[in-house]
């Protein structure tokens, strides 16, 4: 269940960041609330991703790691998981920062704030997509290990 919640909330956080970009690109007095809500949703979904993925990683990942390291794709752990578990903090910090910027800046009148917000949202989206991709390598690494073990 945790393994389903983790990538799902991550993907929803990406969608909310994309939604946020659309709102900022069309910033007006009318969509101010929606813009903030999109950034806040992206942040809380990323926090949920952190908690669900972190709990699974700390409690259950050791068994998967052993399977991956004995399988045909050890790099699924040595590169993808190791890089993912640390790079995630960049995504998390940026998504929290995005919510702060969305709350404190006026995107209708301030072009610099729009540019900053769009860059931060783009980095959240790009890095979160990279996390999703790395996650699929890790899942495939487990599968390769199980196939090699004849399970």
């Amino acid at each position: 269940m945790l393994l389903m919640i983790h990538p799902t909330t991550g993907a929803l956080a990406i969608f909310c960041a994309i939604w946020f970009m659309v709102e900022v690109l069309n910033a007006s007095e009318r969509n101010r609330g929606r813009t903030r809500f999109a950034a806040l949703s992206s942040m809380w979904l990323m926090v949920a991703t952190y908690i669900a993925g972190g709990y699974w990683y700390v409690v259950y990942y050791a068994a998967d790691k052993a399977v991956i390291l004995k399988g045909a794709w050890p790099f699924a752990h040595t590169f993808f998981m190791e890089a993912k578990e640390h790079a995630f903090f960049i995504t998390l910090v940026l998504s929290i920062y995005l919510a702060i910027v969305a709350r404190k800046e006026d995107f209708v009148r301030n072009r610099s704030a729009r540019v900053l917000a769009l860059w931060v949202a783009a980095m959240v989206i790009l890095s979160a997509f990279a996390m999703e991709g790395a996650g699929s390598f890790i899942a495939m690494g487990v599968r390769m290990g199980l196939v090699q073990a004849g399970i």
Partner: protein, 100 residues
């Protein structure tokens, strides 16, 4: 003022830059020094928990403190520096685990 950032945007922006680069630096130090990794594990059950809490605390506490110190300004370098920090931070992590 139209193109002025709020003090929270600047304060937490600087804190984000430091937290992102600190995340990569801490990962390098931890991976190269088993003693540091063992200490972090001893501190909070798993080195990754200690790592995450440390980075979040750096961002939130530093951001809070800087927000009280800085003034609203144009801060022209904020956006490019943040993008550069994220790129360098990610590159540093990829390089570390590619070499390893």
């Amino acid at each position: 003022m139209p193109s002025t950032f709020s003090k929270q945007t600047i304060g937490y922006g600087i804190a984000a830059i430091i937290a992102i680069l600190g995340n990569t630096a801490l990962t390098w130090v931890k991976e190269e020094n088993p003693v540091v990794k063992a200490f972090m594990k001893q501190l909070l059950y798993h080195h990754w928990i200690a790592h995450g809490i440390a980075i979040l605390l750096v961002f939130l506490v530093l951001g809070f403190l800087l927000s009280r110190v800085v003034r609203p300004s144009q801060a022209r370098g904020l956006t490019p520096l943040l993008v550069l920090a994220a790129a360098l931070g990610a590159f540093g992590l990829v390089a570390l685990f590619l070499i390893a």
